[in-house]
């Protein structure tokens, strides 16, 4: 895939944010906050770092794989998948509607290209990604496996089972990323269930931690992802701590948990869209 200029990638980020807002607004349900905060990550990954083939096949042999463990970011993932050619952009209209392939949370049942496992019930994606990474090793396939988790999701015990395992088996073809926005549905993570020192925790579990301090700055994200790639193959699984702001890109949504799972009304949508230029054409 030809590399895009950063200006072009930035345009995709802005368009993705518009897609997310319009998608959740249309059905008055869904989770806008976190995908707005992860736009630079999604775009940086799918349009620059990931060696992938939008002509989708489930096994993904010879290509990098991405798993979304925090499945409620589906609107953002669907947007980036559609805009990178996995399925028609117009299909974003069907998000969360009856008879759609774009289920509220990602699913494989209707065969939506790009989705390799259902997610939504939290805490399961890291295990799946590690399994897929080990299958790659068994197949002598030197491509990488990526997974995105939420920070609140780290409250699930299974994550730490997988953390022990990933280090024990030296799963060094895996790059896991934590969307470290400090927010979850009931409030700030430090109030709901304090995660304390995540860097120290992952390091204590035997992972190599790569901090991406400004997860809403595209160049920082690109640099951080490139650095993570350079850290693979050295006997340890990689964890990106991606510092983002929930709701980034819309002034009244940024930095609060209030838009975790709430859609904007008509007026709020108009306000939000006025802050995000239609760069590539709405679906």
């Amino acid at each position: 895939m030809e590399k895009l200029a950063i200006e072009q990638l930035q345009k995709i980020c802005t368009q993705m944010r518009r897609d997310v807002l319009r998608m959740v607004h249309a059905v008055q349900s869904g989770h806008p906050g976190a995908p707005l905060g992860c736009a630079e990550f999604f775009v940086g990954l799918y349009f620059d770092k990931l060696r992938h083939n939008p002509d989708f096949n489930m096994d993904g042999k010879g290509e990098d794989l991405f798993f979304l463990s925090n499945g409620h970011l589906s609107a953002g993932w669907y947007s980036v998948l559609a805009r990178s050619g996995y399925f028609p952009i117009e299909e974003l209209r069907t998000f969360r509607k009856i008879n759609s392939r774009l289920q509220g949370h990602p699913a494989t049942e209707e065969g939506l290209p790009g989705i390799r496992i259902a997610s939504g019930s939290l805490g399961q994606g890291l295990s799946v990604a590690i399994g897929a990474a080990q299958a790659k090793k068994l197949n002598s396939d030197d491509s990488l496996v990526y997974v995105l988790m939420g920070d609140g999701e780290l409250q699930e015990g299974q994550i730490w089972e997988a953390a022990l395992y990933g280090a024990h088996y030296k799963v060094d073809n895996l790059i896991a990323t934590v969307d470290y926005n400090g927010q979850q549905i009931d409030g700030p993570t430090e109030k709901v269930m304090d995660l304390k020192n995540l860097k120290a925790k992952w390091e204590a579990f035997g992972w190599e931690v790569n901090e991406i301090k400004n997860g809403n700055d595209l160049q920082s994200v690109l640099d951080g992802l490139e650095k993570a790639k350079s850290m693979t193959g050295k006997g340890k699984p990689i964890l990106n701590l991606l510092y983002t702001e929930m709701g980034y890109g819309v002034d009244f949504m940024v930095g609060t948990h209030k838009w975790h799972g709430s859609p904007p009304n008509d007026e709020q949508l108009a306000d939000a869209l006025s802050q995000l230029e239609e760069t590539l054409g709405d679906y």
């Binding site: 699913a107 049942e109 259902a118 897929a132």
Partner: protein, 320 residues
């Protein structure tokens, strides 16, 4: 006077050994078969595979939720994971992981569950799961298999590797008569009529198939001719075989090492009530937890034996 049994045995063995031996055989046959186990390799008899194929075997430690997710992930890339632990930890403990990452996602994972039911014995009710078949059969896309002896378990283990899709394979710990042939062909979803009869049909699964064989001989001594059908695959259920048999006999008994709520008996009841209403008696555990004891003591105390199948058959016949 000894019973005139239609099936006999010369040797006893645990069904988990049938699994372990079958697993080694499919490992040799198919390089995509991989194994996972949550710190119970010896109990699951997975050690021979691990020894022969160390690169294709993954000790997960005591972390069953992670094991299920790993197995689901390994299917992406074409592996066929056999994930083994005790039936309790393979189902109830990880139900949501199986539901989302395996069943809903249609992953080719084989959940291999040993020490199911009361015959686990002395460890007691914490480990004696009697609800697993119900939980697993409720999941769309899931195939549920409960073979009856060493040979059938081995054959089933080999067969599920060639079946694409999630499978729950249930087996157990006690030494048990080997009464089915070593060279049997295992057909998933195809019930096996072991003994012809005309008065009542006994539908049995797992260890209780042997008890059904004994019950048939006991009933025959009293002039009652029972048909015995081995339902090794609880889902998909061979409804055709069930309906054909009950159309002839007019009544039935279900026999399983499981709660009567949600087990094989309920699947048969559903089939009969929808297509051919007829009396059905349940031999199973009646809404109770188990307890410590030897397998034989427990089967007797909870009524999971030939004597109780005989009584149930007579009740069913009376209700015709």
């Amino acid at each position: 006077m000894s019973l005139d049994l239609k099936f006999t045995y010369t040797e006893k063995k645990d069904t988990r050994s049938g699994f372990g031996d079958g697993f080694l055989e499919v490992g040799r046959k198919n390089p995509n078969v991989v194994g996972l186990c949550a710190d119970l390799i010896g109990s699951l008899k997975m050690g021979a595979f691990q020894k022969e194929f160390p690169d294709r075997f993954f000790q997960t430690g005591i972390a069953e939720a992670n094991m299920i997710g790993l197995a689901a992930g390994m299917t992406i890339g074409g592996k066929i994971p056999f994930a083994g632990t005790f039936a309790n930890f393979a189902t109830g403990r990880v139900y949501d992981q199986i539901r989302q990452s395996v069943a809903y996602s249609e992953k080719n994972v084989k959940i291999c569950a040993s020490h199911a039911g009361l015959t686990l014995g002395e460890d007691g009710a914490t480990h004696q799961i009697l609800e697993d078949v119900g939980m697993m059969k409720m999941l769309p896309n899931m195939t549920v298999i409960n073979p009856c002896d060493y040979n059938q378990t081995k054959a089933a283990t080999i067969a599920i590797a060639d079946h694409h899709g999630p499978v729950y394979l249930r087996f157990g710990r006690p030494s048990w008569p080997i009464f089915t042939p070593a060279d049997q062909k295992f057909e998933i979803g195809k019930a096996w009529k072991m003994i012809d009869g005309k008065d009542v049909t006994i539908f049995a699964t797992g260890h209780l198939v042997w008890e059904a064989v004994v019950a048939e001989a006991m009933l025959r001594e009293e002039g009652i001719h029972a048909e015995v059908i081995n339902i090794h695959t609880i889902k998909p259920l061979d409804q055709e075989a069930i309906l054909e048999s009950v159309a002839k006999t007019g009544c039935a008994v279900s026999a399983e090492e499981h709660q009567i709520n949600g087990g094989l008996g309920d699947s048969i009841a559903q089939t009969l009530i929808l297509h051919h209403p007829a009396p059905l008696e349940y031999v199973g555990v009646y809404d109770q937890f188990g307890e410590s004891g030897t397998p034989a003591q427990l089967l007797e105390k909870y009524g999971l034996n030939a004597e109780n199948i005989v009584k149930a058959a007579k009740r069913a016949i009376e209700r015709k």
